[in-house]
Every structure is written in C-alpha cells, then in structure tokens.
C-alpha cells in the first residue's frame, strides 16, 4: 500500500477545522482549550507530513513539531491555570457570561 501526502493533509484539515468550529461554537472554556489542542495537533501533523513527503531529507518540520509539542504543553498549563483562576473568581467558565470587556 503506497503512502501518499493527501490523506495526511486531509486528516490535518479535518482536525484544524474541527478545532476551529469547536472554539467558535462551544462556550465551555475547558472544551475550547481542548479544541485549541486539536488545532495544534492538526498543524503538527501537517508539518510532519510535509516534511516527510517534500523536504528531501530535511528535518526542519520535525524540529518545529517537537517545539510545538513542548510549547503546547506549556500553553495548556497556563491556560488551565487561567481557567482555574477565572472559575475561582467568577464561579463560571461559560465564555458567553464572561463579558467584562463589553464596550
């Protein structure tokens, strides 16, 4: 079975789209954070696939992928901490009710 680039890109597109839709549609901050993770993973998959099929032995894509994984871990930690604080302060993690910035 021959491997081709297209399924990878398709999967990554699906992941990114699902993530974006999730971010836009769901109101729960934790779910939104999970969706951001989905987008990040989609991007990582995209980079790895492109590195494999069209970089001719280069490793830049893989290196960036590792960076993304590390940064995503850090980002998730900070975001979860923020969500904790928001919950403690407002007793609420529904994005629709947190409208202090309303102009």
């Amino acid at each position: 079975m021959a491997f081709s680039l297209f399924p990878y890109l398709l999967l990554s597109l699906v992941l990114i789209s699902l993530g974006l839709v999730g971010i836009l549609v769901r109101r729960n901050l934790v779910i939104m954070l999970i969706c951001i993770e989905l987008v990040l993973n989609g991007v990582t998959l995209n980079l790895l696939a492109l590195n494999k099929f069209s970089a001719n032995g280069g490793a830049a894509g893989q290196i960036i992928a590792i960076f993304i994984v590390a940064l995503a871990a850090a980002e998730t930690t900070i975001a979860l901490a923020l969500i904790f604080l928001i919950f403690r302060h407002y007793k609420e993690i529904d994005a629709e009710k947190l409208t202090e910035l309303k102009g």
Partner: protein
C-alpha cells in the same frame, strides 16, 4: 500725559466706574444705585467744567494714544483727544446727562428696575464720551456701537410692553443697517490708507495720494452710518418709535447722546468729508430733504413726544445740511444749542406725561390744569420759542448761523427751504402750546378731582423742575455766545478766530418775519378754540393722508421686508436648517454616531465573536494576498 488729557480721561471713566459699581455691588439697592450714577456723572461734569475753564478760549488738539494692535501694515490705536470740538461736546453731554439723571430720580420714582435704568444711563453717557474723545475712527466706531446698544437697552426699558420691545428692536436694526455702511467704509480706509486717525483722515484730500473717487465712496459709506444714527431720511423711521422708552431717555437720545453722534462725526471728520464735493452735496441734500419731510409730518402729530421727535429729525436735518453746505461752525453751534432746548422740551413733556398719564396733547387739554403747572408750561414755552427761533433765544442765533452759512456759500435754495422749515417748525410747536393752553372746560373741575387722587393744581416735584429751570436758562442765554455782545466768543472757542463777525441783519429780519408768520398762523388756527382740531395741513385730504401716514416710509419698509426680505430669509432659513445643519453639522455627527454604534457591536466582550471576527479578517487578508 498732560493735565488736559488726565482730566478728560477721568471725565470718560467716571460713568464707566458707576456702571461697574451698580452692576457688581449695588444692584439690589435702588436708591443707592441712583445715587452712584448721579454722583459719577456729577464728578464727570465738574471735571469737564474744570477742563473747560482751563481752556476757556479753546485749545489745539492734544492727543494721547494707546496702541492696541500692531501689525506690519497698520497700527490700531485707542486714545483720548481733547480739542475745542470735543471739549464743547463733552460739556454738552455731561450737563444734559447730569440733568437727565437728576430728573429721572423724580420721573422714575417707584419703578422696579431702577438700578438697571441707572446702570444703562451710565453706560449711555460713558459710550457717548468714549465716542466724543476718540482720536481714531475705530474708537469712534466702538463708541458709536456702544451708544446704539445702550439706546436699545433704554428704549426697551419696559421690555414687557410689546411696543417698547419692538421700538427698541427697530431702533437697533435700523441704525445697524446704517452702521454696516460705516463699517465697510472704515475697512476700506484701513486697507487703503492704513491709518484711521482723524488727523490723518482729515488731510486725506490734500496730499495722501488717495483717489478722489475712493474718498467719495468711503465718505458716502460712512455717511450711511450717520443717516442711521442721526435719523436722516430714509433711515429716520426708528426715532419716532423710540418714544416708547422712558421720557428722560428720549431727552438724552435726542439731545446729547445718540442722534448727536452722527452730527459730531461729520464735524470731527470734517476735513475728510470736505475732500469730496459730491459727498458734501449729497449730505446737504439729504439733510434739507429730511428736515422738510420731518417738519411736515410734525404738523399732524397729536402725541407731544411725537411732535418733538419729528422736530428733532427736522433740526438734525438742518445741522447735516449746514455741515454739508460748508457751515462747520453753524452745524456745531446748532448741535449744541439744540441739545439744550430739545432736552428741555422733552423733560417738559415728561413732566406733563407724569402728571396727566397720557401723551396726547388734546387729552391733556381736555383734562385741564396745564396752566397750573407754572414751571413746566413756562419752560415748555421757552423751549418752544428757542426751537422756533424767536429772538433772542438760543435757537434763533444758531438757526441764523445756518442761514448765514447757506447764504455765504451761495446755496440760496437751501436758505429759502430753511425759512420754510422754520415757518413749519414755529407753526407746529405753537400748535402744541396753544392746544395745551386752551381754556379749561367748566365741567372739568369737580369731575377731575375724583379721577386724580392728588388733585391737579400742583407742578411736578423739585428734582424734576430744577433741571427744567437750568435748561431753560441755557436755552435763553446760550445763543448769545455767538454774538458781538460776547465778542464772538463761540468763534474764538471753536475756530480760534479772533475777528468779531457782525450780525447779519437781513437774515435775522427774514427769520424773524417767518417766526411771526408761523406763530400768528398757529394762533389764528388753534388759540382759544376748544376742540378745534384741524390745522391748515389737515384741510386738504391727500396731504393729510400723506402726512398722517408719514410719507408711507414705514409702509414701504413693511412691504420691502414682507415681500422681499422675508421670502429670502425663508429660503436662507431652509438652507441653514436642511443643508448646513442637518447635512453638514448634524450629518457629520450622525456618521460618527452610526459608525460608532456599528463598531460597538464588535466590542461585546464575547470571546467567540472576537475569534470569529479575527478569522473572517484573516480569511479576507489571505484572499487578498492571493489576489496580489
């Protein structure tokens, strides 16, 4: 600063300080305000008298300038100018104003707005003094406008009466219409000459390299202001209406502070006006025409104040004509003497109105008791004799000077016109006197006392009669200053001319004959006949209609305003409301409001909306980038 300038400065400042004091401190104390104003104008009068006695035989111009605005092209200056003309005028203004202040104490007793009244009187005197001492046309314009504003405030003193409010507005708008010309003339002079000092303007005709056409143009424009202020035809219509104000104010307006300003300006800028023969001719013609028209209208007036108002217009016309015909001294002399006897006449009228509570001379005669007001009626007769030009009263000599000026300058038409006007003047003033003096009806006695709580036998209080007596003395004696009896004092004072002018007997006899004719005519028609209301002017119906309707000048203005100016104003109003306001001012505001409202939808604090917006913009940017 010389001694003279210092004195003059304080003469001008005193009424201003009184205005400030009343406005800031004594507003709520009526009597105190009145005292402050009277004290201030008294001080001014004393200082002016001191100044006068220091310079008993006149003085050459002394000027002190304060620079106000200095540019590369011109310097605008204020200042104080003291010379014979301004000194004389200052004396007249101070004396008349002081007497009016004192008289008002009695006349306005019990009025609620007394503080306001005296504050405006002070403003009026101050404005006129600022005008009188001004060495530059610009300061003259400032004083001129202040005088207009003060007269607006005083004519409309009883602002709750619609007629008074309307009269005030009419006076203001009409004089402002003339002032528009004045201001344009002033600006042209400022641009072309670059200097508005009277001593420069007066030499404009000789060597300044300004074209004669330009001088004529600016002279006529400035004369337009004078036509408004000094009530010359056709801008005279405001003056009779201005009778709605309190009577002492009318005295002030007619004698010293308002209408005198125009005459004074011609005298002040006499060299400037003389530089244009055409303008002078025009001025003289307008003057004599005004004089004749006003004198004829006065023939049919029944309101004593209206008679006097038209006589003022007529006399002002004579002054303007005299100045226009080259009679500088005659015009100024008549201005001064007219100030005294016209103030006297108005204050007498005020005394009568105060007593009878009506302005109509027939009603006064009907109520009876005029003869018992001895001081008022005596001084009224003296004033009328002076106005009519009976020798040896003030008006006789000053009118004589005008006649002589016409004769020596070869304007015989003007002289004969003046004689006719004198005849009319004598006739209408003695029509008034004879009507007032007509014998009392028998039945009036008992029935009047019921009406009038205080009876009808006594005269007005002393603070009203004393000014009358003082002014009467001036009206009797002032004329002699121009006769050989006083060694031609007036010539010496005003013109620094030392030879004594002999009396012009031929002119004097002519004017005396005219006086006798006028008074006997009035006697035949009105004396002793009760209820006989028609003089010769009323007999012919079309003349009567013409005169009663004041030559249809008011109707003409009415049609002009209704038919032409009002529709134009409606169009302008529409443009202002719809185009400038709704589209321009409110339009730009609305754009900001609506765009702000639209943008504020984005600022709703909803996280997902922000994200969505960012994504949409991102997609748009990517799309655009693709296009490039």
């Amino acid at each position: 600063m010389s001694e003279n300038i210092k004195l003059a400065t304080w003469v001008v400042l005193c009424p201003f300080l009184s205005l400030l004091t009343i406005g800031i401190f004594t507003r709520t104390y009526k009597k105190l305000s009145a005292l402050v104003a009277i004290a201030a104008i008294s001080i001014s009068t004393v200082l002016a008298t001191m100044l006068y006695f220091k310079n008993l035989y006149g003085l050459t111009a002394e000027t002190h300038y304060f620079e106000w605005l200095i540019t590369d092209y011109f310097t605008l200056k204020f200042g104080i100018l003291v010379d014979s003309l301004s000194l004389g005028m200052m004396m007249v203004v101070c004396i008349v104003s002081l007497l009016v202040h004192i008289y008002s104490w009695g006349y306005m007793e019990g009025e609620t707005g007394l503080s306001r009244y005296y504050a405006w009187l002070s403003l009026f005197s101050w404005a006129m003094l600022v005008f009188v001492v001004s060495p530059t046309l610009l300061q003259a314009f400032f004083g001129w406008e202040l005088v207009g504003a003060a007269s607006f405030l005083l004519i409309g003193f009883w602002y709750y009466k619609p007629e008074a409010a309307q009269a005030a507005r009419k006076a203001f708008v009409m004089t402002r219409f003339g002032d528009f010309g004045f201001f344009v003339g002033l600006l042209i002079l400022l641009v072309v000459v670059g200097n508005l000092d009277f001593n420069v303007l007066n030499k404009l005709g000789t060597n300044m390299g300004v074209s004669p056409g330009l001088i004529t143009l600016t002279a006529l424009l400035i004369f337009m202001g004078i036509m408004g202020k000094s009530a010359q035809f056709p801008l005279h219509a405001w003056l009779p209406d201005a009778m709605e104000g309190p009577t002492p104010v009318s005295a002030l307006i007619h004698a010293a502070t308002m209408v005198a300003a125009g005459i004074y300006l011609i005298a002040r800028a006499y060299g400037f006006f003389s530089a244009s023969p055409f303008a002078m001719e025009f001025i003289a013609t307008v003057g004599i025409l005004t004089s004749f028209i006003a004198a004829t209208i006065a023939l049919v007036q029944n309101d004593v104040k209206k008679v006097m108002a038209y006589s003022t217009i007529s006399q002002l016309g004579l002054m303007v004509a005299a100045l226009g015909a080259g009679g500088y001294k005659a015009g100024v002399f008549h201005l001064f003497s007219h100030a005294f006897f016209k103030a006297l006449l108005f204050l007498c009228a005020g005394s009568l109105i105060h007593h009878f509570h009506t302005n109509d001379m027939w009603e006064m005669a009907e109520k009876g008791g005029v003869r018992k007001m001895k001081i008022t009626i005596t001084t009224l007769i003296i004033g009328s004799l002076a106005l009519a030009g009976c020798p040896p009263f003030a008006g006789f000599f000053s009118k004589d000077a005008i006649l002589v000026a016409f004769e020596t300058n070869g304007k015989h038409m003007f002289m004969y016109a003046t004689l006719i006007i004198s005849f009319l003047t004598t006739y209408y003033s003695f029509r008034m006197i004879f009507v007032l003096l007509s014998p009392e009806p028998e039945h009036a006695h008992g029935h009047k006392e019921e009406h009038h709580g205080h009876g009808h036998g006594h005269d007005s209080p002393a603070n009203m009669t004393i000014p009358l007596i003082i002014l009467a003395i001036f009206s009797v004696l002032f004329g002699f200053v121009d006769t050989p009896l006083m060694n031609g004092y007036f010539d010496k004072f005003l013109l620094n001319k030392h030879e004594i002018e002999h009396l012009h007997w031929s002119v004097m006899i002519k004017s005396f004959i005219v006086f006798i004719a006028g008074i006997s005519f009035a006697y035949v028609q009105f004396a002793g006949k009760r209820g006989y209301r028609e003089g010769f002017a009323e007999k012919i119906s079309w003349i009567r209609a013409l005169l009663v309707n004041k030559y249809y000048v008011d109707d003409f203005y009415f049609i002009l305003v209704r038919g032409l100016i009002y529709p134009f104003a409606v169009i302008l109003n529409w443009i202002d409301r719809k185009v400038i306001n709704d589209t321009g001012v409110n339009g730009s505001g609305n754009i900001v409001i609506y765009s702000g409202r639209f943008i504020s939808y984005l600022m709703n604090g909803l996280l997902q909306r922000y994200l969505g917006t960012s994504l949409v913009i991102l997609f748009i940017l990517v799309f655009l980038w693709q296009l490039i």
